[in-house]
Symmetry: C2
Subunit: 401 residues, 2 copies
């Protein structure tokens, strides 16, 4: 299961990471921004060290759509995300058990974070019911009835053998009232406790070295946000995934304040993941507020719709709809500065043609471009935190039209 | 346009290729099978030498579906095929002209063969009319009316700047009578002449070093097949693409005899391409009958349907439907002997899951597998011709269930 057995005595840096790991404090903060809450460091997991702030590409069904593992290594991805809900249904847990977990199944050797399945049960199934025991829902494609509880989610994630698992939480529609949000939050705390108990039982049984993150919720109510952070913190997880802020559509200041309400309470020395966020601008804004880990479908899903994220300059990026007429005869490279040879060699006009013709290669090239952009952006952020220039930069970073 | 200007005097092998090229005899036969009509050698084109017998992957719209040019180089593809009909419609010839041809548009630097567009105008458009002047048809997707003549086909292929262009021919439904087939054949000969006249005029204007192949037709009537080969031969093309034998469904002996009726007449020293054929077995059978070049959607299209061609042993291959239940828990590599790392590293169970989940990566992996199989098969064939063991082998080569 990738447990580090021998302390790497000869290498001080590795030894430090090892000691951090063994202490169950998985996060080492190396640099801090003197003008914001941004920090950079390493999250040490059984299958490798993750350098934060980090972006985690989404591999819903155990595959970052259109890419191979080698593509992800070329992009310098350090950790990817898998969706418990989707993998539970396909290939199913019997096959996953036989494969020996998601790493062995898909061949990705670096860390994987899995979510709990709760968000998809909530958002994908029109027919679903939350009770104290768990959530019952119908699978949209098959109509099949399924039941997911904190315990079942932990069992699935243990079978997936992900490096970071998440507790099951109750998700809410954006229009939830204070009373509804409060009730769901309290249930989320009870579920977090049940999740932790089951995960620790299973961890002992399986003998693995993976970790469980807690999820503070609280909808758009800052009082609940604070209360939730406090209660989840008391359960003493090694890290946190802040949930429920990416419902879409809310003004960014509201989203930012929801996050700040919680980062102020959560322990400084534990890694903070923000679920489902966001645009490049969002990410920079959130790093400044003390977030260390991000995941979002934005770069990969937009890629499949021909929407490219391109660096404009050090302070800005732009969105390019590559199938637009203006690109049909733009014979400049997709990205002349790319580390990926294909993005330097193929032209915008060719990619425009591939999208217009629905050629399969289109999706791969666009996905490479968008993920490279995100991963390079995280490298820029890390470098700026290290040199302590992040504080003068982050507020200026934005999209240009 | 890739014209070889300086004779490569220092390198005897290159010099020979150069002289062959300059003599407008593009084919050099190196080895012959003593027990069949099989031969191996090189077709020398402006953009590179093609080692025959060769399989040409199909890049309909200027992209071998799901693959990059680097993938094709890794597969050792030496020449690909583009479809004039499709490229004429998308991206269109104005963009292609601005790009400077198909090589520059798609970045593939090795040779390209383009067909004339006639077969697609015949097979894809339900509304189409052949007259002496050309073929008028409606584009299925848009309903748009288009007219294709021998001259227009040559103009398009000159814009595409393909290394090998094909004359426009009249295609026929499989149930055509002798009278219909005879009439179409005579028109095909008149069109071949018009194609050649126009191609030579354009070649002089453009100053390129590409070549035009003639197409003998004749449907299933061996008398017409012989007559057509004779008449097309008299037009003195540098090579031939035998047409109309891959209508599908006919017994293989009929297809074989149609080909033999023509290879016996066509000059031995000119390369022979068989349009749209075929299965691995077909290819081996046809090499034994003197065919040098092949193209077929079989490996790439089947790949996208999850149908893999795998080597069984030296004498046989098998077809594997990878999404079948038996592969859901087959954790052996897709192809342990592959030259492509991904085919050794990913398992059949994973590929089964990707196909069942319609994940984009599925199509790329399966396409790599099937094209590698075809290209390796051609290498096996070449080696057996060279060592003169082909004659004892080809009749035994077959698919196993």
């Amino acid at each position: 299961m990738g447990l580090l057995v021998e302390p790497p005595l000869a290498n001080p840096r590795k030894l430090l990471a090892y000691l951090v790991y063994m202490s169950q404090n998985i996060f080492n903060i190396e640099h801090r921004c003197s003008k914001s809450k941004a920090r950079s460091g390493q999250v040490t997991l059984a299958r490798g060290v993750v350098n934060t702030p980090i972006f985690m590409p989404i591999g819903t069904l155990g595959s970052v759509k259109s890419l191979t593992n080698q593509d992800l290594l070329n992009l310098r991805a350090e950790i990817i995300l898998g969706n418990t809900y989707h993998l539970w249904l396909k290939p199913d847990m019997e096959i996953m058990q036989q494969a020996g977990g998601l790493h062995k199944f898909g061949g990705w050797k670096r860390p994987i974070l899995t979510d709990s399945g709760g968000f998809q049960a909530f958002s994908l199934s029109k027919i679903r019911k939350f009770t104290e025991e768990g959530v019952t829902f119908r699978v949209p494609a098959s109509g099949q009835k399924r039941f997911l509880s904190p315990e079942i989610s932990m069992q699935i994630q243990t079978t997936l053998d992900s490096d970071i698992a998440l507790v099951l939480d109750e998700c809410l529609p954006a229009e939830a009232t204070f009373a509804e949000a409060s009730s769901a939050m309290h249930r989320t705390h009870r579920w977090a406790k049940r999740s932790k108990t089951e995960y620790e039982r299973l961890k002992k049984l399986a003998g693995h070295s993976n970790h469980l993150f807690g999820i503070p919720q609280g909808a758009q109510f800052s009082e609940l946000r604070k209360q939730s952070a406090q209660m989840i913190k008391e359960l003493d997880f090694v890290g946190y995934s802040i949930g429920g802020v990416a419902n879409g559509g809310e003004p960014e200041e509201i989203m930012y304040s929801q996050v700040v309400a919680q980062t102020e309470i959560l322990e400084d020395h534990k890694p903070r993941h923000l679920l489902g966020v966001g645009t490049p601008r969002d990410i920079v804004q959130m790093v400044a507020r003390g977030i260390d880990m991000f995941d979002c479908v934005y770069p990969t899903r937009n890629a499949r719709h021909g929407s490219l994220v391109l660096k404009n300059d050090e302070n800005s990026y732009k969105i390019v709809h590559i199938s637009a007429s203006r690109y049909a005869t733009d014979f400049s490279p997709i990205n002349p500065d790319s580390r990926i040879p294909e993005l330097r060699e193929y032209t915008k006009a060719y990619l425009c043609h591939l999208f217009r013709s629905k050629e399969l290669l289109a999706y791969r090239l666009a996905t490479l471009q968008n993920l490279e952009f995100y991963i390079d952006l995280m490298d820029t952020i890390k470098a700026k935190i290290k040199s302590d220039t992040f504080g003068d930069w982050w507020q200026t970073y934005d999209r240009v039209k």
